[in-house]
Amino acid sequence: MTQLALVIDLNVCVGCHACVTVCKEWNTSGTAGYLSDMNPFSKDPTGTFFNRVQTFEVGQFPNTETVHFPKSCLHCEDPPCVPVCPTGASYKRESDGIVLVDSEKCIGCNYCSWACPYGARELDAEQKIMKKCTLCVDRIYDESLPEAERKPACVLACPTNARLFGDIDDPNSEVALAIREQGGYQLMPEWGTQPANHYLPRRKTRITIHEDELVRADNPLKKERQKPMPDPGDPTLDETTSW
């Protein structure tokens, strides 16, 4: 089995929105038609996006942390949006697990988006069909591109390498390793959708230092209190002895 997916590292995402911009740029000329914008240069601009970066504040001041959170279709392994579609426009590919919308079959009834707990699908306000992340299906198999560029546009654009792309079913892939070794997790596991996209948590590097690692105990017997401890002001063995 193959299940292509993104792994997004919240530890390195800086919230620059480069993935949002490049996603819009690439996919607005995609096979499913342009991604329309309403009032792009006036008040209340709004439009269709496959990918959005949101920002959350975790904790209470002064102990706060700002978490930038890129959000797109998670290409669930058990996608709730697929069985509800009355026309079969919403489907999951057997070959690589990508969830897609057939723009020729979609009737714009919004029902699939109701079934998606993540709000990953957006109805295009002009074309009146459902739009969603395609994992750049029109890039990743394009043999006219150099092999290094056969990746979703957002992955290539990310300046901090917060976005990894690959087959999570292949245990040796970069994404499977990241999930396994760096605590990759899924969003809203309570719905049983088994999202293929995973997120890597914020990680802090801390070491525990015990006091005796800072204060030198010359004689282990003294450390174990079998002999009286020397006064900290006394010269140490190194200072009195020349080896």
Binding site: H17, V20, N39, K43, D44, P45, T46, G47, T48, F49, R52, V53, Q54, T55, F56, E57, V58, G59, T66, V67, F69, K71, P80, V82, P83, V84, C85, P86, T87, G88, A89, K105, C106, I107, G108, C109, N110, Y111, W114, A115, C116, P117, Y118, G119, E122, L123, A125, Q127, K128, I129, Y185, Q186, L187, M188, P189, E190, W191, Y199, P201, R202
Partner: protein
């Protein structure tokens, strides 16, 4: 959820149409067993089924306004194996067809007796068609309700009460309309329909209240913590990635003030349940069709508000990602 007026109209209109058919056919069934006087097949059954058909067609037409691409609507019958919406798309026209056939049999009088029990009970063709249509009618209520009840993420809807309420509220509305229709026809079935209207409205009050109580105590499974996967008691959204809103903010928030939201609930509880009961009582007592008509229209207005509230009350987990601009 943002209540879509097209879907509100669809579900209330076909509910009333289905209920009206159920009422008419119940009347026919009773008269076959000589429990109620026989009715004129052209003026009562044919005209009544035409009225039901008009409601069903109006509902179907309004559903098209919910589609972004109505010209592709024919495709929506394809996935009946998995999609309740697809099943409804098949069941609704099938039911309409049977109601039309049932009405036509009455209108043309082409109603051969198929079986006779004893000396008096005659099973004719319209009765057989009517039984099939009745089964399809309940199937359609099931399909309509399941469209909403099957989405487990919308916890306010994911309960058998959704299907029960669709069935009972539609039946109540249809039986009230049948009372108006029978009174207008000067039919002997007026009291029978009025009695069933009162019973159905009473049961619907119990089940709708049950779902309101259930939803008031509902504990949502998703939280901001599971939404972004960070375990901290205090998480606050600072940006949702867009300034002027998006499909996600337009489709999933009803946008009404808390006051309006709450008052809609009390007004619909008043208009759907006690008001028609009182008006039917007055209409039957005074032999005045005006009161009965008012009962149907005010209850229908109440049902529109009930449906608005049904949608507005459903809190989609995706809203967790759209708390603030």
């Amino acid at each position: 959820m943002h209540p879509a007026f097209s879907v509100i109209l669809l579900t209330t209109l076909i509910g009333a149409g289905q209920g009206l058919f159920l009422a008419l056919f119940t009347g026919q069934l009773y008269s076959v067993f000589k429990l109620l006087p026989e009715q004129d097949s052209v003026h009562f059954y044919a005209l009544g089924s035409l009225l039901a058909l008009v409601l069903l067609v109006a509902g179907l037409l309004s559903s098209f306004f919910h589609l972004g691409r109505p010209e592709r609507a024919w495709r929506s019958a394809a996935r009946w194996r998995t999609s309740w919406l697809s099943r409804e798309v098949i069941a609704l026209p099938a039911f309409m067809l049977l109601v039309a056939v049932w009405g036509l049999i009455h209108y043309l009088g082409w109603n051969p007796v198929l079986v006779t029990f004893g000396n008096s009970i005659e099973i004719d063709l319209s009765l057989v068609v009517g039984i099939v249509a009745t089964l399809l009618c309940f199937t359609l209520f099931l399909f309509t309700g399941m469209i909403y009840a099957c989405i487990k993420m919308l916890q306010e809807w994911a309960t058998p009460l959704t299907v029960i309420n669709y069935t009972l509220l539609g039946s109540s509305s249809g039986f009230v309309l049948a009372t108006v229709f029978a009174a207008w026809q000067g039919s002997g079935m007026t009291l029978f329909f009025a009695g069933w209207s009162i019973i159905l409205t009473g049961i619907a009050l119990v089940t709708r209240s049950a779902s309101l109580l259930r939803n008031a105590r509902l504990k949502h499974k998703s939280s901001l913590q599971t939404a972004i996967g960070i375990r901290h008691a205090r998480i606050e959204q600072k940006a949702q990635g867009a300034m002027g809103g998006s499909f996600n903010t337009r489709e999933y928030f009803h946008g009404a003030s808390e006051r309006k939201f709450k008052s809609v609930k009390w007004v619909f509880l008043l208009l759907v349940f006690p008001v028609p009961l009182v008006l039917i009582g007055m209409g039957i007592g005074a032999q005045a069709i005006g009161w009965l008509m008012a009962a149907f229209l005010l209850q229908y207005l109440g049902l529109l508000m009930e449906r608005w509230f049904f949608f507005a009350q459903a809190n989609h987990p995706q809203n967790l990602y759209y708390q603030t601009v």
